[in-house]
Amino acid sequence: MARINLEHIRHAYGERPKSEADYALKEVHHEWNDGGAYALLGPSGCGKTTLLNIISGLLQPSEGKILFDGHDVTRLSTQQRNIAQVFQFPVIYDTMTVYDNLAFPLRNRRVPETEVDRRVNEIIDMIGLGGWAKKTARGLTADQKQKISLGRGLVRNDVNAILFDEPLTVIDPHMKWVLRSQLKKLHRQFGFTMVYVTHDQTEALTFADKVVVMYDGQIVQIGTPAELFERPSHTFVGYFIGSPGMNLLPAQITGSTVALGTDTIALDFSPKVAAGAKTELGIRPEFVRLGREGMHVRINKVEDIGRQKIVRAEFAGKPIAIVLPEDGEVPADARVTFDPSAINIYADSWRVGREA
C-alpha cells in the first residue's frame, strides 16, 4: 500500500512531440492518497489507460516522475513496483487450471507453497469458482475468466496498488454489480490503494471515494461524486456526469448580471471573467424549475423515464433539458426559473469561482 505521487507527468506516443497536441497525456501533477479508491473517468481515448499504464510501469512517461511513498519509481519495472493490474479483456493462462492461474503470480515471486494454498483458496471462494479449482481455465465463460483475472490481481496482498482497466466490460450487468460490491468490500477490508478506469459514470461514482475526470489528455476535475455533480469545474464534467448532462447556455456577463438572449438573471456573486473569454452559464436539469413564472421556454418533447420526466425544450434559441418529478405538470405557457445556488459560470470552458 502506498501513496502515489505523479509529478509533472506527460506522455507522447510519438518520438519527438512538437506541440501540445502530440501528447496523449498532458501534464498530470497530483497526489493519490494511500488506501484511496479512485476512479479514472472519461471518454475513450482521453488518456485514462495511458495514465494507468504509466502508474503500473508498463509505459515509461516521456516526462515527469512517479513516487510511491516518496520513493522515485519512474525507472523501475512493473515487477519492482509491485503493482497488480486487471485488464479490460480477460487474460488467462489457458493450459493451467483455475487454481494454478491464481497461484501463478505468487509462485513467480517464490511465495511458500502453504501460503500460496491459503491465499488461492481464499480468493477462489471469494470469486465463487470453488468447484472449478482443478479444471483447466480454457472452458470457462468470459465472466468466469475475468473473475480469474481479477483474482490474480487480488491474490497478492502486499501490492502497492491495484489498478483496474475497465475490468467489468465483458461481465453481465447483474454480475457487474456483485463484483463491484465485492471490490468495495475488499477495499474496506484491506485498504489497498485502488485505481479504477472506466467510461461508465455509474461505475465510477459508486466505486470511488474520489473521481478523477479526464478529457482530451488532461485531468479536468478530481472530486467526490457530490462535487462533480454540484460544482463541475469544467463544462465537460457538467456534460459527462449526470443524465442528462448539464445545460450550457451562452451568456453575457456584466458585473453580477447574466444576460441569456433577451432575459437577464441576477447572480449572488460577481464572476471575474477576462475580457474576450467565451462565457457560459451552466445549470443542471434537476435545478431548472418549470412553472408559470420566469423566462419563456418552448417545450419540444416530454420523455417519461419512469421515476421522472425529462422535458426537452428550447430556451433562448438553445436546447435545454429539464427534469420534472413523475407527477410534475407541464403548463401550457411554460416558463422556467433557475435555482440561483445551482448556477455555475464558465469562462472558456473552465468554471469561474463564486468566491472570486
Binding site: T78, F87, F89, T95, M96, F104, N108, T136, R152
Partner: protein
Amino acid sequence: MEKTWNNKAWFMVLPVLLLVAFSAVIPLMTVVNYSVQDTFGNNQFFWAGTDWFTEILHSDRFWQALGRNLLFSAIILSIEIPLGILIALNMPKKGIGVPVCLVLMALPLLIPWNVVGTIWQVFGRVDIGLLGFTLKALGFDYNYVNDVFDAWVTLIVMDVWHWTSLVVLLCYAGLVSIPEAYYQAAKIDGASRWAVFRYIQLPKMKRVLLIAFLLRFMDSFMIYTEPFVVTGGGPGNSTTFLSIDLVKMAIGQFDLGPAAAMSLIYFLIILLLSWIFYTVMTSSDEQA
C-alpha cells in the same frame, strides 16, 4: 413449410466426386491393379496375388531405404521445429523489419525443388562450389560425392535451409495473434521469460506447430527431387530413400509389379504415421 426429403443432394457432390475419382481414386486403383499382377510387356498380365508385397516386405533394400527415410525425417524435424520456433520468437513484431523478414523467410519456399537441389549441388562442389571449395581450402575433407556422412550433412543442411521458413512463418502467425494484454499481464504477474514462452506463447503456437510438424514429416518422408539432383541416391545407396528406390525400380528396372506394391506400402506407412501423430497430438490437446 414442409421439408422435402429426397436424394437430389447427391447430385451436388457429383462434380467433386468425379474430380477426386480422376485425380486420386482411378490412378490409385491402377497401381493396385499393377501390384497384384505380373507383366512382360505387350499388355499381357498374369495374376500374381500378394507375391510382390511379400517380396518387398522381405527385401533388405526396402527396409534399409525405409530406415534412411525415418532417420532423415527424425533429424530434420528435430532441427527445423526448434529452430523455427526460435527464429519466429526473435522476428520483429512491428516496423519495417516485419516485411523484410517475411520476404526473406518466404524466399526459399518460392524456389522450385529441383532448382534448390541444383543450387546445393553446385554450392557444395569442391571444384567450383563456394561452400565445397571454401571448406576444402579451410582444410576440411569435405566431399558429398564420395563421403556418406558429408552427403547426409549436405542434404540435411539443404532441407533445413529450404523448409525451416515454413515452420517460422506458421509459428510467427501464431505469435502475432497473441494480444498485447497477455504480455502485460505476464509482466504484472512477474512471469519469467521462460514462463511467458511456456504458458503464453507455446500454447498459442500449439495448433500451428501441429500443422508444421505434420507437413514437414510428410514432406520429408516423401523427399525425392533434392537428393535425386544432389546425390542421385549415393554414394552407394547411402542416400537412396524410398522414393528414389521406387523410381529406380519402376522406371529404371521397369519392375512394375514390385514397384506398385512398394508404392502402396509406402503410401500406407505415410498415412499410418500421419494418423498416429495427429491422434496423439490432438488428444494431448484435449486433455490439457
